[in-house]
Assembly symmetry: C2
DNA sequence: AACGTTCGGGCGAACGTTCGCATTGGATAA
DNA sequence: TTATCCAATGCGAACGTTCGCCCGAACGTT
């Protein structure tokens, strides 16, 4: 392999190594023939700059930290995976790279890992996902003035860069769709209280009812952890309601919950899409292959990744930032489950 | 933030900065009180070593390169995602980190990216996944003596470190299961020719037939790209066979193909699990929620990641390597589709 | 003829580490 | 008393960059 240094190039070209450096950066007044000679040697011995040295000198790493979401067992998070992928691509285009790491204690906000990585000059800033109100990571990063940008919102009065998908609007679209289909008794299965994004989706649910002229008293929210079995249990409770109160449509806060709901309906001997409508949220892969294919809300993860990276790099490089918060519109994907 | 240097610590502790360095590494003969004083200052001002400097000095980065699999649009690859996650965790335990990057031209083997990253001292070695026979990346890395380890095999006569899941054995288990269920006319839907791992799975299929005493002439392989619609088309062709030749069970080379097959069966008005058996491969998330839940083969991605990382680090650090190739056993997960 | 100006390039320093070797002072042994 | 030794620390150098400043020569201007 190459692994040559400036001095190797300089020796072969008969100049000082500093001159080589300048030529490579185009910021030297050198005779044209000297420059071409240097470039020739560079290609000949396949010189590549040593980034460790460059980083030490520059005091910047061009690396963006991103913590893996600690998933129990083999449960993955397709939305965040897509986001991560998009962020990686966007970063590469601006000559940055993603540095992924794992925190030990995800929910408690293992702030130590962030402190260490930044203190060690291992990254120039952080990308956060799956944020929540009062998020200790955000609080810490703001306090210590460490550059970062998030995919997800937190407290409204905190001043930082974020990108999020408008979950409220997404759910309003779902509701409008169901109402247009003639549904009047619509229930929701949401996450346990305390989730920021769950709260926005619930707002969309209530707004949807109101716009359809349905009394809030007619609304019902069941709650379940973000797992299919929990969703199934919540759905079973809804199906147990007396016939007059039983919903004809159920909007779910996530696809995983909706998958459980589908199962519960099948267990009850009913048919989703005919006897009852079910919708999900996130449009994770494969939900189009469920039976029936699941109506869902697709998140613009590609744009989200691009924006987050852009804002973070602007911050790192000290450029002014136009908008500190960006809300993206999701897209309703109607399938046979509703 | 901290971002203090050895000199800051030294000044506060009243010693030279080199002494601080030695104390931190425990390789100095210093008076106990000096040591405690230094440690106290270190904690006080929250000193963290600058890794760029350390890396420059050491000539090593403690970073392992891993190329994103270029997925078209939002199609993710759950098996590789799980592998990546596992590798990241394993690396972290040995004080290494993963450095992810994207190649422009995945299939052609954009070898330039590997050369550049290694030449620039950006990584100490590489992890490769989704390998194939004659893989240009592997050829390049061997030629240039760059440390690497792969998840997946290539040419048998190439000498390098790999870990793979025994696809042949996995498929043999599927076949044994189907034969035990009484199936005699079993077809396979595989990928187009040229895939290394597809080839192993086909071997398992043929072996399975043979062990059951079924003539090879009775076997059928249809081929499809790794997409649900392609799988559906292949399945439709099998269903079009005259009744006497039509298989009672179809083993699929992947879950994605199997999902398409499920759909094709449903379209034909038949019921999977009763009228015909279908099996997948990989056990990707959510296939347990399909209707019917899909029988599949689970890959030990956790172990695979750990082994790959271990072998790569041994190589980088110049330690001897016991086994250059490791074959892991997959696990059959029987569900209602078979 | 003396003096600025420009061109072409060298030189020293610094980023923060680590590591081998040198240098103290005090205690011990001869 | 003096040579000896060890413990406790300082010092210089190097990893490969980048950057500002300096310097000689050639040229043109008054």
């Amino acid at each position: 392999m190459s692994r040559a240094t400036l001095k190797d190039v300089a020796a072969r070209a008969g100049v000082s190594y500093q001159t080589v450096s300048k030529v490579l950066h185009g910021q030297a007044q050198v005779a044209p023939e000297t420059a071409t000679r240097i470039w020739q040697v560079v290609h000949e011995i396949n010189y590549e700059p040593n980034l460790s040295a460059r980083r030490l000198r520059a005091g910047a790493t061009h690396l963006l930290g991103y913590a893996w979401h600690h998933t129990p067992s083999n449960l993955v998070h397709p939305v965040l995976d897509a986001f991560l992928h998009s962020a990686a691509m966007a970063a590469a285009e601006q000559d940055y790279h993603l540095f992924t790491f794992a925190t030990h204690d995800d929910k408690a906000g293992d702030v130590g890992a962030y402190e260490e990585l930044y203190g060690r000059h291992q990254v120039d800033g952080f990308i956060l996902a799956d944020t929540n109100r009062g998020d200790p990571r955000i609080r810490f990063l703001i306090e210590h003035e460490i550059p970062f940008a998030t995919f997800g919102r937190a407290n409204d009065d905190w001043d930082f860069c974020w990108v999020d998908v408008d979950g409220q609007q997404g759910m309003e679209r779902v509701m409008a769709h169901l109402v247009a289909r003639g549904h009047r008794r619509i229930a929701m299965i949401s996450w346990p209280e305390g989730s920021q994004s769950g709260w926005y989706r619930e707002q969309g649910y209530w707004n949807g009812l109101q716009r359809a002229g349905i009394a809030a008293e007619a609304g019902t929210i069941e709650r379940a952890e973000n797992l299919a079995p929990a969703g199934a249990a919540a759905m079973a409770r809804l199906l147990d309601l007396p016939a007059a109160q039983r919903p004809t449509a159920v909007v779910c806060v996530s696809d995983l919950v909706a998958i459980g709901a589908l199962k519960a309906v099948a267990n009850a001997g009913l048919e989703v899409g005919r006897d009852i409508a079910i919708t999900g949220f996130d449009d994770i892969p494969l939900v189009e292959y469920l039976r029936p294919p699941l109506t869902s809300v697709r998140q613009p993860t590609l744009k989200a990744g691009q924006w987050v990276v852009k804002m973070l790099i602007q911050q790192i490089e000290g450029e002014p930032i136009a908008h500190k918060g960006i809300l993206l519109e999701p897209e309703l994907v109607v399938r046979q489950s509703s």
